[in-house]
Symmetry: C2
Subunit: 177 residues, 2 copies
DNA sequence: AAATTATGTCAGTACTATTGACGTAATTTC
DNA sequence: GAAATTACGTCAATAGTACTGACATAATTT
């Protein structure tokens, strides 16, 4: 609409580029990459009536079996109420089970069932394939570089969450406090 | 809840690892990296009452001034109705203006105003800083590698969208530092 | 016994997205 | 020139994921 009743700014016809001192190239690549990265599991999830939130819960429950609700909330950075519905659905559909904490019986330790493990793997498979394809021409050195880059993109305070993951790294056993 | 009335699966107590043939390390890194990557602009946006959807529109309007509504829908992969509200708000707040298409007057070419350009840059700044910091120890070769990786993560059919971007590669003098 | 902690749940709200339907103006086709 | 198509805008209804605040329960700690 060329009609404007209130003082509208004039159109700027030049594109922003990296010359503005901002790394638009990588910003945009990151957007496209993540959009497509999540599209594969999203499709599978819709068959189950699940969404991305279910995927995240399922992922971390499989990745750190036995984590408590509080720990999960901390990793996902969402509220208890947001988690509630999603977790309930996963439990009702027998993808996740809760066990009473052995030391503290108020706690609920979360574990995947065989069904939940299978779904988690099914969701991760296309993502892993995509990564493999993207790393096709790369060797171990380049792969390590990508990992270093991605890790550096994470907030330093939150990098601890990554290290909790079993296996993988070597001497990263800053155990529990 | 140790009580289950229906046949629930048994808890699996071992964590999934890369040994399952799946690249969980990078999958998880990608998740954390993107989560934090978007957190900076999200904070700024909330001051304006805007959300991530506004950011995306603002980004592409600044990146390809003069694109039409249809083109924008194609890039964002959302529906017209989803775009409508967001775009309207950006126009009402004088961040974006519409001009009649010169050749086809049905089309609306979208342009940023000075205000819209400023906001787009403000949103991109912390993201760019984060990228710079992550690439700190990397040279041009490593940087190119990261770009190649991210580009390879995008669906091949959709890579065309990336190339539309002006300037970009070639003798990219990603200037100072 | 009282306070705290871990979890669950209810009510209300917001944002982003969806599909379907309809209207209008401009362009293209017959 | 009339009809069909295209580009865009808008209305209504719905869903998924998130939020805040409040309150309940059981277990643990003080």
């Amino acid at each position: 609409m060329t009609d404007r009743s209130h003082p509208a700014g004039k159109p700027i016809r030049t594109a922003v580029t990296d010359e503005d001192g901002i790394d638009f190239a990588i910003i945009e690549l990151f957007f496209f990459a993540y959009r497509d990265f999540t599209s594969d599991p999203d499709q599978i999830l819709s068959d189950y009536g699940f969404g991305r939130a279910h995927h995240r819960v399922l992922h971390f429950v499989n990745r750190r079996p036995g984590l408590t609700v509080a720990e999960l909330l901390d990793v996902l950075k969402i509220t208890k109420q947001s988690l509630a519905r999603v977790l309930k659905q996963l439990i009702d559909t027998d993808h996740v089970v809760q066990l009473q904490g052995p030391r503290d019986r108020r706690q609920r330790e979360l574990y995947p069932t065989a069904k939940g493990r299978a779904l988690a793997l099914a969701l991760a498979r296309p993502q892993s394939r995509r990564i493999h394809a993207a790393l096709e021409d790369f060797g171990a050195t380049e792969r390590a570089l990508i990992e270093r880059f991605l890790e550096a993109m994470v907030n330093p305070e939150l990098r601890a969450q990554i290290d909790i993951v079993p296996a993988k790294m070597s001497g990263k056993s800053h155990g529990d406090h």
